[in-house]
Amino acid sequence: MKTVLTGASLFALTMLAAATPALAGKSDDTLNIAFTKELENIDGYFNSAREGVIMQRTVWDSLLYRDPETGEYKGNLATDWKWVDDVTLDFTLRQGVKFHNGADFTADDVVYTVNWVADPSHGVKTQRNVNWMKSAEKLGPYKVRLHLKAPFPAAFEYLSGPVPIYPHKYYAEVGPSGMGQHPVGTGPYKVVSVDPGKHFVLEKFDGYFKDSPKGQPKIGHLDIRTIPDVNTQAAELFSGGLDWIWQVPADQAESLKALDQFTVANESTMRIGYLDMDAAGQTGKDNPMTKLKVRQAINYAIDREALVKVMLKGKSKVVNAACFPSQFGCTDDVTKYPYDPAKAKELLAEAGYPDGFSVDFYAYRDREYAEAIMGYLNAVGINTNFKFLQYSALRELRMSQGVPMSFQTWGSYSINDVSAITSEFFKLGSLDSAHDEQVKEWLDTADSSIDPEKRKEYYKKALQRIADEAYWAPLFSYNSNYVFTRDLEFTPTTDAIPRFFQMSWK
């Protein structure tokens, strides 16, 4: 439906040019924000949506905070932390922090939250964010010990992100359903009202603790509405109903920029797009994808520079390794496959397909990118039989029977560590199309080592082998367009988490 709707946008935007934007936002100290997707439950442990990640940073705090600019970990609810051994972490907690309901933040809250979410029977949806923790133990009113199931060097990355701390008494009483309707946290904004999936009103929390690494909230109110259609969002922007929208498609962003009435900003996100190929032969022992030369040919066949320049635009970049460049352990220093259709044809001939072959090609999002990729594949003789499925349906198919080739994307949950992407897909799990024991062994070593240098070394080995074997065809990184009122001071970050608490009026 989305693609049908965007067809009308050009018309709408041309008409829009004549109008002048109405004043909103700044005059009543309210930032009016649109989400495109419904956020069903604001409780961050019970949604896997980007919008949920944003809300979680706004309303709650985690033990640590990663500075998006320097990448440095700072104490948020914790003031001090250290490894006791490979699987034990000790924290000293900040004193004098209050929850929005007036309760004091203490070790009990950390212990309760961790123990509750780590228990699989409570059905936390984003299991990967919590299933590395075994339990938490209270050592004193402001001292906590965290027990891990196994060595997990990326722990700080998770503790600074998707593990918010909840008030123990309140959460025990109301659970995820109550937390979703009346959220209570320690974060810079408190929630005034929730209309599930539709409308959230937030207010600056005056009692927010002064030394927070997040800084102090500056804008008085946040009014967040879900508006599914991007044209309607643009109309609201013009009529003064909205001050800030994001994830605006490149074409629309360009038209809006040309009107010269709003600030249009672009920033890369951690999401990368890639082709996944059935190297292990899940769909048939001798299918073309099992042949190295075919996979290399596919890598050579696609003009990724052109895709970035013409379709993705903005700050998107060509990606060569199976990870996002800013992630810890990621390296661009691997075998590269520049655009070379002649070489692709040659390799196909060497692999025994001088006339090419036909293959089922799957995708679940960004149909236009998938179609462009098909164009390149067709040009070297690979005939694609295109199948577009829902994400969950495609994943199920990949898990149960496998597919020969698919266009995939992965956002790593904004986790700035290679373990969130490469280890996710190359450790013989059900979405691992390569099934390479050697790669798994190196990733295991890197994932569980506490020594950063050793981690880097083994990640590099794994990434190099993945590139040599051309298990994937890494393509490009994604970007997001932000369009907002000129009264607003805001700089987007590469982790694609807009921090409302750092925005201010000019």
Binding site: Q127, P196, E396
Partner: protein, 304 residues
């Protein structure tokens, strides 16, 4: 009485069949656990979720469980909202029903007078205008028409809010868009029915006995011509309550139609199941009501 009871019994059976079919199809269409687990879940996570929600039980057991709870008014809890489905739907349904009632009223209030006027003077200017309006209504996709209205009334003249459900003003444009979509069929049917009836013997008789033109039109002619319109409107009304997804999405109304669309996408089975049941009940109730209304309009039908 027997007529009414028979119709009611049939309606209940239809509702049961719909719920059974939709339940089976939904569960066969994909693994809900894998959808709930979201991007990045491992097999173990999915297995845990499958067990947590009871998807590992036989389908017939799951259906029986759902049915008995549903009969007591308990439609379960949405997998995504962690809220009772009844609460979730109740909230959204009021928006959809407001929109549906306004939409069909708008359609009827414009289409029937236009249709009558067009029939009274066939091939006149008013007939041409009516034809033009109905062709436009058929030809314009509602998402486009909706955006045009937004551009004119929200942006150019800043008279109406483009989206949301804050006040009654928010419903004006959606009503027009939704109503306009249903209007052409009703108008053409009214016109055709009236043309038929106006040349009938009993209308000539009515005129001959000296009845006034108004009385001939509305008491004798329209009453007969309107019968198929009533049936059509019932179907249109059902369609509006269940299928106003595009309109709800453009104007960010968040009604039941949009909820259904989103819930299907994310495999939120309890929500989808309850919505399908409610939408099918709408059709059943409106068809039932239109049968009763037609029986009242035309005594010959009461035998049925």
């Amino acid at each position: 009485m027997v007529f009414t009871l028979k119709r009611l019994g049939l309606a209940l059976l239809v509702a049961l069949a719909v719920s059974m079919l939709s339940f089976t199809l939904l569960h066969l269409s994909g693994d809900p656990a894998s959808a709930i687990a979201g991007e990045g879940a491992t097999d173990v996570d999915i297995a845990a979720i499958r067990a947590y929600y009871g998807f590992d039980r036989p389908l017939i057991v799951q259906y029986a469980d759902w049915l008995f709870k549903a009969l007591r008014g308990d439609f379960g809890e949405s997998y995504y909202f962690q809220l009772p489905v009844a609460q979730l739907i109740g909230d959204r349904l009021s928006i959809t029903m407001t929109l549906g009632v306004c939409g069909i009223s708008f359609a009827l209030l414009t289409a029937v007078p236009l249709g009558v006027a067009a029939a009274v003077r066939p091939n006149s200017l008013i007939d041409r205008v009516a034809l033009f309006i109905s062709v436009m209504g058929q030809a314009m996709p509602s998402f486009w028409f909706g955006l045009v209205l937004v551009v004119i009334f929200s942006i150019k003249f800043q008279l109406l809010p483009p989206s949301g459900t804050k006040s009654w003003e928010n419903f004006i444009m959606p009503t027009v868009v939704l109503g306009y979509y249903a209007m052409p069929a009703i108008m053409r049917l009214t016109r055709a029915g009236m043309l038929d009836v106006l040349s009938a013997d009993y209308v000539r008789t009515a005129r001959a006995k000296g009845a006034g033109e108004m009385r001939v039109m509305f008491k004798h002619a329209l009453r007969n011509a309107i019968i198929p319109v009533v049936s059509l409107s019932a179907v249109q009304m059902g369609f509006m309550l269940g299928g106003s997804i595009v309109v709800e999405s453009i104007f960010a109304l968040h009604g039941a139609g949009y909820l259904a669309w989103e819930s299907i996408g994310r495999n939120d089975l309890p929500t989808v199941q309850a919505l399908i049941l409610i939408f099918s009940l709408f059709y059943i109730v409106f068809t039932f009501l239109s049968d009763l209304l037609n029986a009242w309009l035309d005594p010959r039908m009461r035998v049925g």
